[in-house]
């Protein structure tokens, strides 16, 4: 669990302020994560805030956007594609959305894409959990693979993006393990779509 994906992307100025009051709570959470092997998934979204989402009820799948989606291990991976699609359909149904019948135009079209990037991570855990003393902690920098799953929702009438959600997490040891990949997809889609306003 060296690459736990705990992305401490902290700006230097803020770090100096924060060090004055080290948070015991945060250290405990981090320690629990190291022991239990959990990685924090970061989930968020952007939304058209002036839009009333109760005007939408039906959805269908749309074409992917123009940018290359990134990782070939996921792009041509039927297991990944099927699981994301299935998870989105289940969570959309729970939100009150219906899959549009083949003969009708949907209210919104959904597409998703995944990107895998190499990211740096500074590992501060050794010092916090007492694995090294003050003088031999190196503040190790490691590299890990971070996956980003993006879901876009486009209004069919206006052809505008009305909602985008994403989840980012370390995918070390996940892409070649179907069980772990399936669990990661389930969590990512559920947490993302929790942020989507409900349909009418």
């Amino acid at each position: 669990m060296q690459n736990a994906g705990i992305a401490f992307a902290i700006r230097p100025c803020e770090v100096r302020e924060m060090r004055v009051r080290p948070s015991i709570g945060a250290a405990v959470v981090v320690w629990v994560c190291v022991v239990a092997g959990c990685a924090p998934m970061r989930v968020s979204s952007h939304v058209d805030r002036e839009l009333d989402f109760t005007r939408y009820r039906t959805f269908d799948w749309g074409p992917a956007d123009a940018l290359p989606a990134g990782d070939a291990r996921l792009e041509r991976n039927a297991f990944f594609q099927d699981h994301v699609q299935g998870a989105i359909e289940r969570n959309m149904a729970a939100k009150g959305f219906e899959r549009a019948p083949a003969t009708a135009e949907p209210d919104v079209r959904i597409h998703f894409h995944a990107v895998v990037d190499r990211r740096l991570d500074v590992n501060r855990l050794d010092a916090q959990s007492g694995y090294c003393s003050r003088n031999d902690c190196q503040g190790g920098v490691s590299e890990y693979e971070e996956g980003t799953l993006v879901i876009d929702m486009i209004d069919v009438r206006t052809n505008r993006l009305v909602w985008r959600g994403w989840a980012q997490d370390s995918v070390e040891g996940v892409l070649d393990n179907e069980d772990r990949l399936a669990r990661k997809i389930e969590d990512a889609v559920r947490l993302m779509l929790m942020r989507l306003p409900a349909a009418r």
């Binding site: 230097p12 770090v15 952007h46 990134g70 990211r119 500074v122 501060r124 003050r134 920098v141 490691s142």
Partner: protein
Amino acid sequence: MSSTQLSVRLSLVMIAALLLASCAPIGVDSYVGRDLDLRRYHTYAWAPPDAFSTGDPRLDNNTFFIERVQQAVDGQLRQKGFEKVSAGQPDVVVHYHARVEQRLDSSVLRPGEPDCQTGDCGPVVYDAGTLLIDFVDPRSNQLIWRGWAERGLQGVVDNQTLMDAAVDDAVRRIMERFPS
């Protein structure tokens, strides 16, 4: 530690040594084409958004971000007396590019240094965002002005309100440097 890990670690230390980032909250700078009087430009139009990746999948093809940048620039140019035109040739074509890169900053204290009180010192990684605005004269196809701003993006993209404010602030500071 395996030899691969060791070499990764060593190369990162070398990168870290090269990247002594300053602590400025936002860096802004600009460039003016030589011998140009920017006051003779009055109308502008947007170039089509570029097809390059920003380096951040959250921002690629993100119309919430794209439109916020354009609205902020539109507002600043209006205040400077520029008029946006949709027909005919504008005096300048405006183009912007956003880029997000992860940076490693090693300028902070090292464990073992006397000033490192907590034992929690060492390099930090953070996302640096650069927003760049170009003004191009369509007749000569020359870059006449370029302004840019760079800042850390910790927690910014994930929070739409913070992102909107960061875009507005960066655009305002960039356009302050544009002669009017």
